[in-house]
Amino acid sequence: MSTAVQPTLAKTSAPTLGRSILWICLLVAVLAALPLVAPRYWVYFAGILGINIIATHGLNIMTGYTGLLSLGHAAFVGVGAYTVALVQLHLGLPFYLAIPLAGVAAAVIGIGFGLPSLRIRGLYLVIATLAAQFILNFVFVHWQSVTKGDVGLTVQPATVFGYPLNNETRVYYLILFCVVVATWFAVNVIRSRVGRAFIAIRERDLTAEVLGVQIVWYKLVAFALGSFYAGVAGGLLAYFNQFVNPEQFGLLLSVFFLSAVIVGGMGSTLGAILGAVFMTLLPEFLREGALAVGNTFGFDIASILVPLREAVFGLLMVAFLILEPRGLAQLWKRARLKFSRSGQGA
């Protein structure tokens, strides 16, 4: 054994899977019981949160793990939402076909926009996704014959064996189920050969290539998978709101998801969840805060809510990137470490 001086490393052991599973089951049980005890508004909020979590997972896989920056994630969510609305309208497909189809549609369109750029420098992909954001939005608004433009499309409730999911609580359970599956899938991918390839590409793609990782293929898979998640989130949103229109999928929403990934901690599945929770709660706090300020100084805050969000989302992005790039997930880890250490030392 080398006697070279080594920096003292904190004790680490293999992460214990068993304990984590217990906690997760508990959490899911609590979430399932939520509609029974909480006011309606909370359930609505939780539903939106679930959708945001799924979309954030997708962006995290693309951007956080593989390093492919997408500024157009919201547009792919929109593709998913419109797909659900349209296949229901024209083909009468049930939700368990419509939602996966929404994911596939988003993945295919995502690949369509991203493919030319996946072989070349990352910057071009960023620009391509921005182009996708604007082009898709344009299509949503102007392809009147299909999307009914600004008027939008109505979505009938999903039905489970004839049982209509026509209020938030019922759709909430569907969303909860999808969030659990989506998270489980994401965790599995990351701890597999595919996930390792993703991280390797983000870190040092040439080295990864030498070790046998086919870069273009895995970038494609990451981008498609991330877009698939976006499409599924969009599909769920369509059933949840029972309404789809272009306004829901603008640039601000893309900024929202990107902020969620950064704030939560890029390249961390827990981070994606924490980031989505934080960002979904944020507008509520901003509104309360702005209302308080508005009331104290006597002005109407309605017109500043949207730009306020834009500014704060951007500020969070920049602040976390500069100061804590590993995000809330890292803060969480540190808090846990302190908690366990103080428990031991006592």
Partner: protein, 293 residues
């Protein structure tokens, strides 16, 4: 008026608009060349300058001249602030992280502008005379023509400056090879700050011009995203290329708007971007870089 004259007219207008695009794109390229940073906040910086101008010239009634001066000073201050507070701490970090920072800054500026000045269109005092310019039979709206003239003068001045002045040479040296530039005594950090000042100046002028030709709205910043196609077509590290590309894109935008209808104008640059990425991402004059391990 036959089709040919209509075509010439739309072409002329397009090329004139392209002059402004070239100016904006220059701001992006200059920063990219020296620090490999793609400034996604360029459009917002441009828009902020126009709002500074409005506030100084109209709200405080300083008049046009001082309005421009105040806008200029404000833009430069903001640019330096961005460079110092947000970008310098990010030196050495991965490229996409830096891109995300500039994108975030764009969002911050958009939000602040929206909060302070509200969502409505504002009229700024006419700097440019409205009398139309006639070239033969072709009618070019006065404001556009004059904006074009100013833009071209600025671009020419900038190119001359980069070519012949000491600062310009230092900039090109740092762009070519940072380490060698350091060893020759060039303070690369100051050079980078300087490129941000240049970007602030081009952004300010083009912002005020744009607001004159159109109106002042919080969406002005998104115009700069049109300029993405200019930057790619010209080649991200080619100043001359971006100039030519500006005219081409402006022309294409105008002509497709004429042929396909005005709502397609806003989407043309993005479709162009995608086509370029498919066919020739390095653009007309960009250089392919060899990656050594």
């Amino acid at each position: 008026m036959n089709i040919f004259s209509a075509f010439l007219e739309y072409s002329a207008v397009g090329i004139a608009a392209g002059g402004i695009y070239a100016l904006i794109a220059l701001g992006i390229v200059v920063i990219f060349k020296s620090s490999r940073t793609f400034n996604f906040a360029m459009g917002e910086m441009m828009m902020l300058s126009a709002y500074f101008f409005y506030t100084a010239a109209v709200t405080f009634s300083f008049g046009i001249f001082f309005g421009v001066v105040v806008a200029m000073i404000g833009s430069i201050a903001v640019a330096l602030l961005i460079e110092r507070l947000a970008l310098r701490p990010m030196m050495g970090r991965p490229f996409i992280a830096i891109v995300m920072v500039t994108f975030g800054i764009g969002s911050i500026i958009r939000g602040i502008v929206g909060m302070i000045w509200g969502p409505n269109d504002l009229q700024i005092p006419a700097i440019l005379a409205r009398t139309p310019v006639m070239i033969g039979d072709i009618f070019i709206p006065g404001k556009t023509a004059r904006a074009f003239a100013i833009a071209v003068v600025m671009v020419a001045a900038l190119i001359a400056f980069l070519r012949y002045s000491r600062a310009g040479i230092a900039l090109r040296a740092a762009a070519a090879d940072q380490i060698t530039a350091y060893s020759m005594g060039i303070d690369v950090r100051r050079v980078i700050a300087f490129t941000w000042i240049i970007a602030a100046i081009t952004g300010c002028i083009s912002g005020i011009l744009m607001a004159n030709v159109n109106t002042l709205t919080p969406h002005l910043g998104l115009v700069a995203l049109n300029v993405l196609s200019v930057v790619i077509l010209g080649g991200m590290n080619s100043i001359g290329g971006v100039l030519v590309a500006g005219f081409i894109i402006g022309w294409l935008e105008s002509v497709t708007g004429w042929v396909l209808g005005t709502e397609f104008r806003e989407i043309t640059p993005y479709i162009l971007v995608l086509l370029l990425l498919l066919v020739r991402p390095t653009g007309l004059f960009g250089t392919k870089e060899i990656e050594r391990i």
